[in-house]
């Protein structure tokens, strides 16, 4: 195997994309999951279904709508183009946007079940002792939900690394910007450069396996802490 031929850029790019996406998703996913866990609103099922959609939709459906949405005439791409001079399609920012949608359920669902199993009592107790809602959340709920957070982070990261169909449709295969590992593998296989395809594929295989081992051991070692 010829290592000098290996281009490390797609790996680095994928790691960046997954990292940024996970940070955004934890920020967005926490309030969504909290609301889902505690609301009695009837619209709950609708929001739950919306969050889970990327699990069942073919990536091509997401890719198609994103291509229209992020392009220079799209609802999102248009205003961004007016502000910055370039639309979101074929850009790293566009991929972050796409990945955030694509990996949303992988972050929201573990958080949702963590918050649900914690229940309302810890929050109410902390508040009755004089803590503000925000303070109570960060000093009481977050530590209790650490199992959910770890699972959400690991799954969100790994799922974004494995993204392919959406990126193929809105990425434009630009080295250093949108050419992520999965696209690089596809390209190498297409031109019959199997040595490089093997290295990258085996890397992803091992990484994904370790990720799942990690998720399952998190779930074993950190037992439920319900008051």
């Amino acid at each position: 195997m010829d290592f000098p031929l290996m281009d490390l850029e797609p790996i680095w790019l994928s790691l960046q994309l997954a990292g940024v996406t996970v940070v955004i998703l934890l920020t967005l996913g926490t309030p969504i999951a909290w609301w889902l866990a505690h609301t009695r609103s009837r619209s709950r099922v609708v929001v739950e279904a919306l969050v889970a959609l990327p699990l069942v939709l073919p990536p091509t459906v997401l890719g198609f709508y994103l291509l229209i949405l992020l392009g220079p005439h799209g609802w999102v791409g248009g205003p961004v183009q007016a502000l910055t001079g370039s639309a979101l399609s074929f850009s790293f920012a566009g991929l972050v946007f796409a990945s955030t949608l694509y990996s949303l359920p992988f972050v929201v669902q573990p958080l949702h079940s963590a918050f649900e199993s914690i229940g309302k009592i810890p929050m109410e107790t902390a508040q009755s002792l004089g803590a503000s809602r925000l303070d109570a959340f960060f000093s009481v709920i977050t530590p209790l939900a650490r199992r959910g957070y770890l699972t959400a982070m690991v799954l969100g990261f790994a799922h974004t690394l494995g993204e392919f169909g959406v990126v193929l449709m809105v990425g434009g295969n630009i080295p250093g910007k949108t050419k992520v590992i999965s696209i690089e593998i596809y390209d190498r296989v297409e031109v019959l450069e199997y040595a490089q395809a093997h290295i990258l594929s085996a890397g992803l295989l091992i990484f994904s396996f370790l990720v799942l081992v990690m998720v399952y051991s998190i779930n074993r070692r950190l037992p439920m802490q319900v008051t």
Binding site: L67, G71, H73, G85, S89, F90, G172, N173, I174, E190
Partner: protein, 246 residues
Amino acid sequence: MWVVVWILALPQVVWSGEVHVAVASNFLNPLKEIAASYKQDTGDRLILISGSTGKLYAQARHGAPFDVLLAADSKRPALLEREGVGVMGTRFTYAVGALVLWSLEPGRVRGEESLAQMNKGKLAIANPKTAPYGRAAQQVLVSLGFWKKLQPSLVRGENIAQTLQFVATGNATLGFVAKSQVEDPRFKFKGSRWEVPVDMHEPIFQQAILLNPGLANSSAKQFLDYLQGPVAKKIMRSYGFRFLEE
């Protein structure tokens, strides 16, 4: 349950009047028209599988059940012939393609100077490694001295159809596509274009070859003859293709 197993175990019915044609994306629409008239004239049906020439080549090498390959270059059919996947002596140039710089905006493309004026927006080309029209686009950009300079603006389509789609949706301002694609009635009178002079890139000889799975299919050979006949040539000409003898 045994019924299901029994049905699955039945040998695949060989429908002699069907030809599986792997076709380079730029030729898909003309071939659909040819397939319609072919069906009228012979009663045989063409089943079309489209993609970049490089991808179809790789699939054929790995035993894809294609009877015929209609590539967008002469390199891959020659390789298949040498590798024993294509049938020796069945390779021929069915059309000569042309490259076009195209934009959805009227008046945007005038000539090569339109490339020099690229300061924002994207320029779409097909992946030069797998798509012959992408390779030709790369050769044009290199010979005009724009290849390095325009790297930040380049987006690569997975095949020439996706490249056209990037430009047609406005996601890319300009794109190098096949002339046959913008001769399509949907795009013919839209946007603006520059027909790249043929001496700026290696000629695009689109070659066909009979593949091993098609050896036993008499319809496959009949279709290759039809492709060289007057009806097919008239359709190809309407898409802007030329022929070797011209």
